[in-house]
């Protein structure tokens, strides 16, 4: 399988700040690759390095086997969907979408037709004559997508494109983006701080923390088999057990994690005091203090809900306890 984007020991430092620190990535052609992490973790900087808006301090970036060193953005076969969409306010929708083709020297009628087709693909047919300012956030997002895709890029970069949309629209766009990527077969590199978004859309997820990639893997592995406590905590706010508690339970000195939905209340097990419980729609979230760790449980509908201050016991299926490498 061809490698679409390869980072070899790439770093980007701003003075003393190591925004990206010694990162290796291999993104396969046709892959939907998500870069997940909190703000300031270096994921957006990595995206900008691929687009060419920024240059690495050290290391090598290859795009389809060609070194990207010193290649300006306008010579890369890579297009970006910006977080703020960056639509040109002085052009109407169709001229926005056709911008790349206009620059490439395509005749007016041809590029207009291609732009109209791209607008149809993102379910905005007939919107060509409007101004970006006349569109809703979701529609602007689609125009930005069409404007990038109409150039048939080898890699499409998406910088938190759904961040400004409301929840319902976001979920709908997640499905549409996924379907579009399947249909076109273009490599998508998707930056987000929303773990649900990354898990539901991506083929593989890279979790960033403090300029480094702490884990790369399939969504299922990232969720159920985190390598380090940071991933367990950031992706799905898992319960992280400190080494001495893990040793007490399993005999192994290491961090361990157990998903909130795997935690049950019972008559035996780890004694705990309920700190708080809150109804979150699909379940009830109960936070409990044990002697060594805070445990969060998601109790399904129908389960008895304890009150704060109640003394309870928590337990889980031993198979749900995932041991991590120590550290992180």
């Amino acid at each position: 399988m061809t490698t679409a984007v390869r980072f070899s020991r790439v770093s980007r430092h701003y003075g003393p700040v190591k925004a990206v620190n010694d990162v290796d990535i291999d993104i396969a052609e046709g892959e939907f690759f998500a870069m997940l992490g909190p703000s300031g973790s270096g994921k957006t900087t990595c995206l900008r390095l691929i687009a060419g808006f920024d240059q690495p301090t050290s290391g090598e970036i290859e795009i389809f086997g060609d070194s990207a060193h010193g290649v300006p953005p306008y010579k890369r076969h890579v297009n970006t969907v910006f977080q703020d969409y960056a639509l040109f306010p002085h052009l109407n929708v169709v001229d926005n979408v056709a911008y790349g083709l206009m620059i490439a020297g395509q005749p007016k009628t041809e590029r207009r037709r291609a732009a109209e087709e791209a607008l149809e693909m993102v379910a905005l047919p007939g919107y060509g004559g409007r101004r970006p300012s006349e569109l809703s956030g979701g529609q602007r997002q689609r125009v930005a997508l069409a404007r990038a895709l109409v150039n048939q890029p080898k890699v499409l970069l998406l910088d938190e494109p759904l961040g400004a949309l409301d929840l319902k629209l976001r979920e709908q766009m997640q499905e549409e983006l996924k379907a579009l990527q399947r249909k076109l077969g273009i490599t998508f590199v998707f930056v987000t701080h929303d773990q649900g978004e990354a898990l539901s859309m991506a083929d593989r997820v890279a979790v960033f923390n403090e300029g480094r990639i702490v884990q790369v893997g399939k969504p299922h592995d990232i969720y159920y088999r985190p390598d380090v406590p940071f991933v367990a905590d950031f992706v799905g706010s898992s319960n992280v057990l400190p080494p001495h508690l893990t040793e007490e339970l399993t005999g192994t000195w290491t961090h361990a994690t157990v998903r909130p939905e795997a935690v049950r209340l019972s008559d035996t097990g780890l004694p705990a005091t309920v700190r708080s419980s809150s109804f979150i729609g699909t379940a009830t979230r109960v936070t409990m203090d044990t002697e060594h760790a805070t445990i969060v449980a998601l109790l399904p509908k129908g389960a008895a809900v304890p009150h704060s201050g109640d003394k309870v016991h928590v337990t889980w299926d031993p198979a749900d306890l995932h041991l991590m490498e120590q550290g992180g």
Binding site: P72, P73, F82, D84, A86, H90, M102, I103, N151
Partner: protein, 313 residues
């Protein structure tokens, strides 16, 4: 612990007035707008229309008295070769100053908007505004000294053994003259210097509003920096350039001091207005001359709007 908040609601005439204004937003807007509207309506527009009315009267050639009868005769006089010459000279000067100011301002404004931060931003503002703090007349007279035959510019050319170049330029028709201080070029340079801040500031303000991602998006879509300038940056900055050009263009059209101090004896509109309403006592013709810049600015803005210069607003 004592409670310092009084139990009773605050009262008094000021509080009652606040309450009244809060309950009647329309009254508030009326009170806010009435004084400036009166000023603009009566003092400003009134004076303008009084002037306009004067231009439709004429002067009796024998008695030199104003004939208060509506006529277009005075406007006809604008089209005599001598007066047309004044109008064309002024418009060409205003246009040249405006174009040159826009070209010089753009890089300065771009730097200030995109790169200057903190201290350098302050240096930029002071650098641009400082000339405005000193007297206009002092600046114009300083330029007369700079451009004079005995001035520093001539000395510089001599020191560099480039006097032949300056002399060759001064021997050119129209733009040249005996020395820079009595040439069209001298007038142009002083106009350019004096009105430059009025171009830099609006252009800088408009560039400040262009998000950096807009330029990145253009590059991302394959545009070279030159193409990005032409297709994105310039259209987005155009409202600022137009705003600046309104200043530089209209200020040059109306000025009568600079061409009088620095330049050849050929007159500009401002000087014509000054002499007709003063010594010549021909107020109708002075008024007709004063209408010319208004008409030109109106046409200019209309064309700019037609061409889509304000689409980015």
């Amino acid at each position: 612990m004592t409670d310092t908040v009084p139990d009773t609601p605050r009262s008094g005439p000021l509080v009652r007035l606040s309450d009244l204004l809060w309950r009647n937003p329309r009254l508030t807007v009326f009170l806010l707008l009435a004084p400036p509207a009166l000023w603009l309506g009566i003092v400003y527009l009134g004076a303008l229309f009084a002037l306009l009315a004067q231009s439709f009267f004429s002067i009796d050639e024998f008695s030199g008295l104003i004939v208060y009868e509506l006529t277009l005769k005075t406007y006809g006089e604008l089209f005599t070769p001598a007066n047309l010459d004044i109008i064309i000279r002024t418009v060409v000067m205003a246009a040249s100053v405006t174009v040159a100011a826009a070209i010089i301002s753009f890089p300065i404004a771009y730097y200030a908007a995109r790169y200057a931060r903190g201290r350098w931003k302050a240096v930029f503002y002071i650098g641009v505004m400082l000339p405005l703090w000193s007297s206009y007349l002092v600046k114009v007279y300083s330029w007369k000294l700079i451009l004079a035959k005995e001035g520093i510019l001539n000395w510089l050319f001599e020191t560099l053994h480039l006097s032949w170049l300056l002399n060759a330029y001064l021997s050119l028709p129209v733009v040249g003259g005996n020395s820079l201080s009595v040439s069209w070029t001298g007038t142009f340079l002083v106009f350019l210097y004096v009105w430059l801040p009025f171009m830099v500031l609006p252009v800088q303000a408009s560039l400040e509003r262009v998000p950096p991602t807009m330029l990145e998006a253009s590059g991302d879509l394959g545009a070279t920096p030159g193409q990005t300038f032409r297709h994105v940056l310039l259209p987005l900055a155009l409202p600022g350039v137009i705003a600046g050009s309104i200043f530089t263009f209209s200020l040059t059209l109306g000025d009568y001091i600079i061409p009088q101090i620095v330049g050849s004896s050929r007159r500009f509109i401002g000087q014509a207005v000054y002499s007709y309403q003063g010594t010549a006592g021909n107020i109708p013709l002075a008024a007709a001359f004063a209408v010319v810049p208004i008409v030109i600015m109106g046409i200019y803005l209309w064309v700019a709007k037609k061409k889509g210069a304000f689409d980015a607003l």
